[in-house]
């Protein structure tokens, strides 16, 4: 091995970082070369001097500063974890959203069911009252085609003055009036006839209600038409077909 090559490797040789073959070659060279042996000794002495004198010792306070700061930071982490509302995890947020959806769904379902149930129950009562009136010998208590007889009859029997019109000219002769009990209250009923069909028009006071345009419903084969006008709610029910029932509504 040439000296210049050996001088490159002698440091690594001293450090024990040479591969076996390089190591053996350098060892052999140093054995035979006084100059390189000198260099090796120099490197060793310098290494020793630097190792012994070069170190800058860390200040005594550094360790406590570092690990104290880390412990403080770790405590803050723990404190954050102990107050889950401050940092709601993703799972908690999702669970809350799901619970809110469930609650909303329950409330909506309940609301729709009960409001639909009420409407359906009222229709059922109207139809029942109508059928009940047909089961009697007569559907009327005051028989008169004269509106001036029927209207005063209602005075003192219901809490409002119903509009009573005789519609014989229009093909809806007025048979008379009657009291009935629908929707948990006493209501007035006007009975009209159309050919062989009987039409019951139930009326009750609906204070504070807006006027409502006629809406048609069908229950058990009967047509029902309801509307509200001037604070009075009307339900017309009959086995008449819907268009004729609507015509009657227009005349009333």
């Amino acid at each position: 091995m040439r000296c210049d090559r050996a001088r490159e490797l002698v440091g690594a040789y001293v450090d024990g970082e040479l591969k076996d073959d390089d190591c053996a070659t350098v060892a052999a060279h140093i054995e035979s070369c006084a100059v390189c042996r000198e260099l090796m000794d120099d490197i060793r002495r310098t290494s020793k001097a630097i190792a012994e004198l070069g170190r800058e010792p860390a200040p005594a306070t550094l360790a406590s500063a570092i690990y104290g700061r880390l412990a403080g930071a770790a405590d803050e982490e723990v404190a954050k974890r102990l107050v889950p509302w401050r940092v709601p995890s993703k799972v908690w947020r999702q669970a809350a959203a799901l619970a809110a959806c469930c609650a909303l769904s329950v409330i909506l379902t309940w609301w729709v069911m009960t409001s639909m149930g009420q409407a359906g129950r009222l229709e059922q009562q109207i139809v029942a009252a109508h059928i009940r009136s047909l089961l009697q010998d007569s559907p009327i208590q005051v028989a008169s085609s004269d509106s001036h007889t029927v209207k005063p009859w209602f005075a003192g029997r219901v809490d409002f003055a119903p509009e009573v019109r005789d519609l014989t000219a229009e093909g809806f002769p007025l048979l008379g009036g009657r009291l009935d009990y629908v929707h948990d209250r006493r209501v007035g009923a006007l009975v009209y006839k159309r050919r062989l069909h009987i039409v019951n028009v139930f009326m009750w006071r609906a204070p504070g209600s807006e006027d409502v345009a006629p809406t048609l419903a069908t229950k058990n084969g009967y047509n029902l038409l309801t509307w509200t006008r001037s604070g009075v709610t009307y339900w017309a029910v009959s086995d008449l077909d819907a268009s004729e029932l609507k015509r009657l509504q227009g005349l009333l």
Binding site: E38, D42, I43, T46, A49, I50, A58, P59, I66, Y67
Partner: protein, 185 residues
């Protein structure tokens, strides 16, 4: 055992090494303290990802990165040229090219009387790129493989930088010895 006490058990023995490396790169004890604190915070945050058996090279690599980040920040903030750069002379490539044409005669025989002050002045005169490998090898006793892990340089580069750094250091030591004791020889 908590994560923090595990971290402390693994890193506390290397605190002197961490401080020493940072000190020799910035050559200011207060700055080195700040850098080491910052490095340990970073190391703790990255601790989950640490799986190796030997924490020293891992930790020193973090310290070295933090130091160079700190140096470049300071340089940018102060808008000044660092003395290290101004006096490092020819770049590393030129330095390595010079290596083969070295005078075969040993510079001088170093005697046991080099004192602490001389060693530190000689180390300070080394260009940083050589100083860091010399510090890691001579003071910290790291194997070449570990120096390579800390500095990110290949082992061959570590070996040549170390040879060059040692040679520079010997030259400087001889010169300083001559200056200090002109009558000694």
């Amino acid at each position: 055992m908590s994560e923090l006490s595990k971290f402390e058990r693994l890193t506390r023995p290397h605190l002197n090494a961490a401080f020493n490396l940072a000190f020799w790169l910035v050559r200011s004890a207060p700055d080195a303290e700040d850098i080491v604190q910052e490095s340990y915070m970073r190391a703790f945050r990255a601790f989950q990802g640490f799986t190796g058996p030997d924490a020293k090279p891992w930790l020193l690599a973090i310290v070295r990165n933090a130091t160079y980040r700190w140096l470049s920040n300071r340089r940018r903030a102060a808008n000044v040229i660092s003395l290290d750069e101004a006096f490092s002379g020819p770049g590393e490539k030129a330095a390595e090219a010079q290596f083969a044409s070295e005078d075969p005669t040993p510079e001088a025989h170093l005697i046991g009387e080099v004192d602490r002050n001389l060693v530190r002045r000689a180390l300070a005169e080394l260009a940083p790129v050589f100083r860091e490998v010399v510090v890691l090898r001579e003071i910290e006793g790291l194997a070449y493989r570990d120096i390579s892990r800390v500095t990110g340089a290949p082992i061959g580069t570590v070996m040549s930088r170390l040879a060059r750094g040692r040679r520079e250091l010997r030259k400087t030591l001889c010169r300083l010895l001559d200056e200090d004791e002109p009558n000694a020889l």
